[in-house]
């Protein structure tokens, strides 16, 4: 039982990162009704940009985050019109077409990354990397790694910023209106295309930034994409599709499950456990833990 606090704290720190993976993804689903299969690949590409920027400039990855956000935000902003064309074409099933399109993108990105960067895994060094806090009292002890704590703080900052953007600004009002009813929002003067572009840009930017953090907390490799795509899927299904408020809780739950499996059980079973939970949720409460999904 001595390991219990350690497992808890690791799970929460890991869950923090998962929030930022899933929150943009959930937002995009809510607003544009796209399941973006390329979410893990955005994370991977962002991580590689962070890695190379760090090599060239020597700056701490945390200082590089704004730059990564701007670069990928722009890419997302420019890509969104193509996605819009795909999902609003004559073909009857927009969701399916969006899925297929982003799936193709994901394959392509993964291929390009494997060709360009090889199979090796790297890590992005940060000033927080070798700092950690150790706490001990009798048999009760735990270690909090500095970089993971910084990651959690980053995740909370992103979540709060996104919350502020959605709830307190005119832009956020437009986004929420779009999510509720596209046509009515357009009648009220919300520019659907442009707002969707911004939302997609924000989502790609956040995913890429999270990639940089994952690169300095865990590792960067060209095959990492699908691992994080499944994280995004799991968290979003658990939270209820498009239900943003549920995302943090679902993310913490996944973090805890993973850390418990790592410490107490076989880490090879994690994927199976994740699938079992997903399956149970779909069976019992298909609209997420809080029954508030779309």
């Amino acid at each position: 039982m001595e390991l219990l606090p350690q497992a808890l704290i690791d799970g929460i720190l890991l869950g923090g990162i998962y929030i930022t993976i899933a929150i943009g993804f959930s937002l995009v689903y809510g607003v544009m009704h796209i399941i973006d299969f390329a979410v893990g690949e955005w994370i991977m590409l962002g991580a590689f940009l962070g890695l190379y920027l760090n090599k060239w400039t020597g700056l701490d990855p945390f200082l590089l985050l704004p730059l990564v956000f701007v670069v990928f935000g722009l890419i997302g902003y420019l890509l969104q019109p193509v996605i819009h064309r795909v999902i609003s074409g004559r073909q009857g099933n927009p969701l399916l077409m969006g899925l297929v399109f982003t799936f193709g993108l994901a394959l392509m990105f993964r291929g390009i990354a494997l060709t360009g960067f090889g199979f090796y895994s790297h890590s992005i060094p940060s000033t927080f990397s070798d700092k950690s806090f150790f706490y001990e009292q009798g048999t009760f002890f735990m270690t909090v790694s500095g970089i993971r704590l910084a990651g959690l703080i980053y995740a909370l900052v992103i979540t709060v910023a996104l919350h502020w953007l959605l709830k307190k600004t005119n832009f956020g009002l437009g986004v929420r209106a779009l999510a509720q009813n596209r046509d009515a929002a357009a009648l009220m003067g919300v520019n659907g295309k442009r707002t969707s572009s911004y939302v997609y840009g924000i989502y790609v930017g956040i995913s890429a930034m999270t990639g940089v953090l994952i690169g300095s907390i865990l590792s960067v490799s060209a095959q990492m994409g699908p691992d994080y795509t499944i994280v995004a899927f799991f968290v979003v299904v658990l939270a209820g599709m498009g239900h943003l408020a549920g995302v943090p809780w679902a993310a913490f739950l996944l973090g805890l499950v993973q850390s418990f499996f790592l410490i107490y059980l076989d880490p090879g079973l994690t994927m199976l456990a994740v699938f079992a939970i997903l399956f149970t949720i779909l069976l019992v409460s298909p609209r997420g833990l809080f029954a508030k999904g779309v």
């Binding site: 689903y29 399941i35 193509v82 064309r85 795909v86 074409g89 004559r90 073909q91 009857g92 099933n93 969701l95 399916l96 077409m97 899925l99 297929v100 399109f101 799936f103 193709g104 993108l105 994901a106 394959l107 392509m108 990105f109 993964r110 291929g111 390009i112 494997l114 060709t115 699908p226 499944i230 899927f233 799991f234 299904v237 599709m241 076989d266 090879g268 079973l269 994927m271 199976l272 994740v274 699938f275 997903l278 399956f279 779909l282 069976l283 298909p286 779309v294």
Partner: protein, 348 residues
């Protein structure tokens, strides 16, 4: 048009049937056998993706379940191949029912996610279990008779094709699935049970896939998670279906033949650039979604019947209006046909 296609299909199957009489080269037979297998994987993938509008990323998992069950039954229990293959089909059915029940009640997004998660979980399971040989895979007793496998594969795929043809293009079942794809709520209000139909379609798509997996395992005599359970199986089936044309039976066949030929040539001449294949695969999917949303066959068919023809575009009303009209008429025809067939069936 419809009867023409069936005549052509029978002709193609017959021609393929007599090919081994003239070609004795083992390599050519091997390529043909694999091409036929991919045709089978593509048409079964299309039952869900094209006709029902649900994307099944676990297609490769069902292929792998069939392969592994057959292999386990033959190696660990010493069952004969035919029995093991039947066991494989049975296990695939059970897995499809189990995976379909919770996910097919919901919208398409959940299904795509859950099947993808399923394929990852099955991969993991095959890696950690001892009965599957873990990452080392399994070796099956070799049975080196290329002709046997060629005819077996051809027989299974041809009968699957004609069964799907009958069910999807002739019987009301296909219309019902299409109705669900177009408007699930509307289909329900006409007295259909979407969940049941979707699960039926899922099983219909999974079982032949499992059988193909079983044949593949015995044919190749070696299976491991990296080759049999990798995402590449679903990915390639998806490319074939999307590129060939979703929602038709001929489209996936054309897509499978083209993509498989490309793959074979690619591996023969450019095997140093394996990763390029992934990029091309992804690019073909993304580009055909953008520029050929109806796929190759869909575009050809539309052009032949003059629906998307240039002439009509220039003289007729603006394309948007035309499309809406086309959609309306399509929907009304579908509704009318569906009504008549539900009444005939006496569906409650």
């Amino acid at each position: 048009m419809r009867s023409k296609i069936i005549t052509w299909s029978i002709l193609v199957v017959l021609v393929l049937g007599i090919v081994p009489l003239f070609v004795s080269d083992a390599f050519v037979l091997r390529i043909l056998t694999e091409a036929i297998m991919w045709i089978g994987l593509a048409i079964t993938f299309d039952v869900l993706a094209g006709y029902t509008g649900y994307l099944n990323f676990g297609h490769g998992a069902f292929f792998g379940i069939g392969a592994y069950t057959t292999a386990i039954m033959m190696v660990r229990a010493n069952w004969p191949f035919t029995l093991a293959l039947l066991a494989g089909a049975r296990v695939t059915t059970i897995c499809a029912l189990a995976a379909g029940f919770p996910t097919l009640r919901l919208r398409g997004a959940y299904f795509a996610i859950a099947t993808w998660a399923l394929s990852l979980a099955i991969q993991q399971l095959a890696l950690i279990l001892t009965i599957t040989g873990g990452p080392d895979g399994m070796r099956l007793p070799p049975f080196l008779n290329p002709l046997y496998f060629f005819y077996l594969m051809l027989g299974v795929v041809a009968s699957t094709f004609f069964l799907l043809w009958f069910l999807l293009e002739r019987a009301p079942f296909g219309l019902k699935l299409k109705a669900i794809r177009e408007d699930e709520l509307g289909a329900q209000s006409l007295g259909l049970n979407p969940t049941r139909l979707k699960i039926q379609a899922f099983v219909l798509s999974a079982v032949p896939t499992g059988i193909l997996g079983g044949i593949y395992a015995y044919w190749i005599t070696f299976i491991d998670p990296a080759s049999t359970l990798s995402d590449l199986v679903s990915d390639q089936a998806l490319v074939m279906v999307v590129f060939g044309g979703m929602g038709t039976l001929i489209g996936p066949v054309i897509g499978a033949v083209l993509i498989f030929s490309f793959k074979t040539i690619f591996w023969a001449y450019l095997s140093d650039f394996q990763l390029l294949y992934l990029i091309i695969l992804g690019a073909v999917i993304a580009l055909s979604v953008v520029f050929l949303p109806n796929g190759l066959w869909g575009t050809i068919r539309d052009r032949n019947s003059g629906r998307g023809g240039l002439k009509k575009k220039l003289t007729g009303p603006p394309p948007g209006i035309e499309a809406e009209k086309k959609d309306e008429t399509n929907k009304s025809i579908l509704t009318a046909e569906l009504k008549s067939c539900t009444q005939k069936d006496g569906v409650k």
